[in-house]
């Protein structure tokens, strides 16, 4: 048991990813530890989002996308032939770059996941779960009195927190965040960052970000991607103060990217 907890939650070995003829990821090896925040950084088009989307197979919907190598979640092959993608995505939730609430009420947005997965057996439990999720996402106080209003009527930051509530309502083990703050103002960003830190208690978190300070603030480990290659990976503190690779050094000091 003690051994299990030291095992990484997600293991990537020699992962290549292709969009048609174009190779987007080259031989990525990365361990993602449980109940930590791992930040993926790198310039635009470096493959960090691609890698993130490999982890819950969101790339499956893209025509011509192909992933080779070994990707394991709790030592189970993510791309195995008998893997149920629906179950995988229930275990590995996702928050997207642009807030994308369903055009339904706030309540329905959060209740949708638990309902399709059959996580609750009655209305009371569902109410409770919705409330818990909104509370966890730090949104409950703001929307308590208007749960039946459309989720799309909230502000950008609130919408993104609603999307986080929607993701955690399914009780995933891992939450993937693809630049969750890129469309938000600094105050909303601060809230999401705070939230990310709190969520570490219950969830393993992988966050893609363009914002170096954000990576430094919220993550315990950081991985730097460049041109589809994982250049360097390590403890956040070390990456930002004493990077082992010249390119990492150049990037975090703002010399390119």
């Amino acid at each position: 048991m003690a051994l299990a907890s030291t095992l990484p939650k997600i293991v990537a070995r020699d992962v290549d990813c292709f969009y048609g003829d174009k190779q987007a990821l080259f031989c990525v090896n990365l361990d993602i530890s449980e109940k930590q925040v791992t930040a993926l950084i790198g310039p635009s088009g470096c493959g960090k989002s691609t890698f993130l989307r490999c982890l819950n197979r969101m790339n499956d919907v893209i025509d011509g996308c192909r992933v080779t190598g070994k990707l394991e979640l709790d030592a189970e092959d993510i791309y195995g032939p008998d893997v149920d993608v629906v179950k995988l995505r229930a275990r590995v939730g996702m928050v997207f770059q642009k807030p994308n609430p369903f055009p339904k009420s706030i309540y329905e947005n959060v209740a949708y996941g638990p309902r399709i997965h059959g996580l609750v057996s009655n209305r009371g439990e569902l109410d409770e779960l919705v409330e818990w999720s909104l509370e966890k996402a730090g949104l409950l106080g703001e929307v308590k009195d208007r749960l039946q209003e459309p989720g799309t009527g909230l502000s950008g930051g609130q919408q993104q927190r609603l999307c986080i509530a929607r993701a955690i309502a399914v009780s995933p083990e891992v939450i993937l965040m693809d630049e969750p703050c890129s469309a938000l103002d600094p105050i909303a960003t601060a809230k999401i960052e705070e939230l990310t830190d709190e969520l570490r208690e219950n969830f393993t978190n992988v966050i893609v970000t363009h914002n170096m300070q954000q990576a430094a603030r919220v993550s315990q480990r950081t991985a730097f991607f460049h041109l589809g290659i994982l250049v360097e990976e390590g403890e956040t503190g070390k990456i930002f103060t004493n990077p082992g690779n010249e390119r990492t050094q150049d990037y975090i000091t703002g010399r390119f990217g």
Partner: protein
């Protein structure tokens, strides 16, 4: 140095110089011209529409009234039921035309001679006898009584009272001779002629006699046909669009299917009629002239439109919604049915209504499967012989009688009303399903 000052001076007045003002004026002029072209185009369209509607309504509105004559009819027992049997068979087979003739003779006792009498009798519609028979069959106690009955005039008399047969042209050039004109004038002077709302036109089927011909048969036929079309093309079209857009892989086969669907949308409609004739009638042996087959043929014709519009509507749903649903673990089918399709529905409905409107106005493919037949009865089901509104318009436009001119225009008015009702239903449905946030 001088170059630098030149560059600088140019830069400071580049947006304020006279040349700049002229450029700006030219741009605004071009903009105004463009708007004028648009206004001009809309003007032409409105003018054409106005002309079309005025000419149709101007020609057709008279068809909604009918000239009738009130005659004192003696329901003579010796004509209807000489043996006083009270038997419906006897009553049904009696010579009601004789009753009409004798009451006309009462009005004009001095008309003598076969030819004159025939001319007199021709003033009243042959439908008058049927009307009397129905009255007697509904209430046999009428036999032996005498009462005033309003019966339809013949189409020529009707045309005379509506002013389409003019008294100031030569006798040989009009359908009514001088004597008939005199009798009609006399009837009118005696206050026996009335212009009433033409319920016959709205409630009965087609007839060889213009004054007895109605549009209801075609309306029912159109309703049944379009119902079949809608029930077939909407579910099939939406299913095909959803599969092609959301699930099908992109490869040579789906490309081929896409090209074919796009081509089918442009195939002349009569080809679909020929297809229906060959497949539905000759191969499967389905009944001729039936709304069922007509609906199937029109559904084939409408399907490409629905599929193309459906795919466009599905494509317009933001991908972020799909990602959101997939991201919380919805299966692809749940994603489509619970999130994508509801958002695409208004667009799909619009496409469907465009297809249905085209199907409503279609006559060519229906000619091929026999829906052009002369059908008097109101269709009672999906397999009973019937015709549709555009075919009825075509049939009447082709008829030589003067009275069918107004019927043709009136039928077009009914067709337009049908179209407006259909579009209204679509707008209401759209509004109901359109998500407002």
């Amino acid at each position: 140095m001088s170059e630098a000052t030149l560059g600088q001076s140019r830069r400071t007045d580049v947006h304020t110089s006279d040349a700049a003002q002229r450029r700006l004026r030219r741009r605004y002029a071009a903009e105004r011209r463009f708007q004028l072209y648009g206004l001009f185009a809309i003007g032409i369209a409105l003018f054409a529409l106005g002309w079309l509607l005025t000419s149709i309504v101007g020609r057709g509105y008279t068809a909604f009234t009918q000239s009738r004559v009130v005659l004192e009819v003696e329901f003579a027992r010796d004509v209807l039921d000489p043996d006083a049997t009270g038997d419906r068979q006897v009553l049904s087979g009696a010579n009601y035309a004789a009753l009409v003739k004798s009451s006309l003779r009462e009005q004009f006792p001095d008309v003598s001679g076969r030819r004159e009498r025939r001319a007199l009798n021709a003033l009243v519609s042959s439908g008058a006898a049927f009307q009397l028979r129905e009255m007697v069959l509904a209430d046999p106690s009428l036999v032996g009584t005498r009462r005033a009955v309003s019966v339809p005039l013949s189409d020529d008399s009707d045309m005379f009272f509506k002013g389409f047969i003019r008294r100031d042209v030569g006798e040989s050039e009009r359908k009514l001779n001088d004597a008939q004109v005199g009798w009609l004038d006399a009837l009118q002077e005696r206050g026996l002629v009335e212009r009433v709302f033409n319920t016959t036109f709205l409630t009965s089927g087609d007839s060889r006699e213009p004054e007895l011909a109605g549009i209801w048969g075609a309306v029912v036929g159109t309703t049944l046909t379009l119902l079949v079309t809608l029930l077939l093309c909407f579910p099939i079209g939406v299913a095909a669009a959803v599969y092609l857009e959301e699930f099908a892989p992109t490869n040579r086969w789906t490309d081929l299917i896409e090209v074919n669907i796009n081509n089918l949308a442009a195939v002349p409609s009569i080809v679909f009629g020929l297809l229906g004739l060959a497949v539905f009638l000759n191969f499967f042996g389905l009944p001729r002239s039936a709304p069922l087959v007509g609906g199937m043929v029109l559904a084939l014709m409408t399907l490409p439109t629905v599929i193309i519009a459906g795919r466009a509507a599905l494509k317009a749903v933001p991908p972020s919604i799909r990602e959101a649903a997939l991201g919380v673990g919805a299966s692809p089918v749940q994603t489509v049915l619970q999130h994508v399709l509801p958002l695409a529905l208004p667009g799909i409905l619009t496409g469907t209504i465009i297809g249905m409107a085209r199907a409503l106005g279609e006559s060519a493919p229906l000619l091929m499967i026999g829906m052009v037949a002369f059908i008097v009865d109101i269709p009672s089901g999906l397999t009973s012989p019937s015709t549709v509104l555009p075919v009825q318009v075509y049939l009447w436009a082709d008829s030589p009688e003067r009275a069918f001119v107004e019927k043709t225009s009136a039928a077009i008015m009914v067709l337009l009303a049908f179209l407006i009702l259909m579009n209204l239903a679509a707008v209401l449905l759209r509004r109901k399903y359109e998500q407002k946030w």
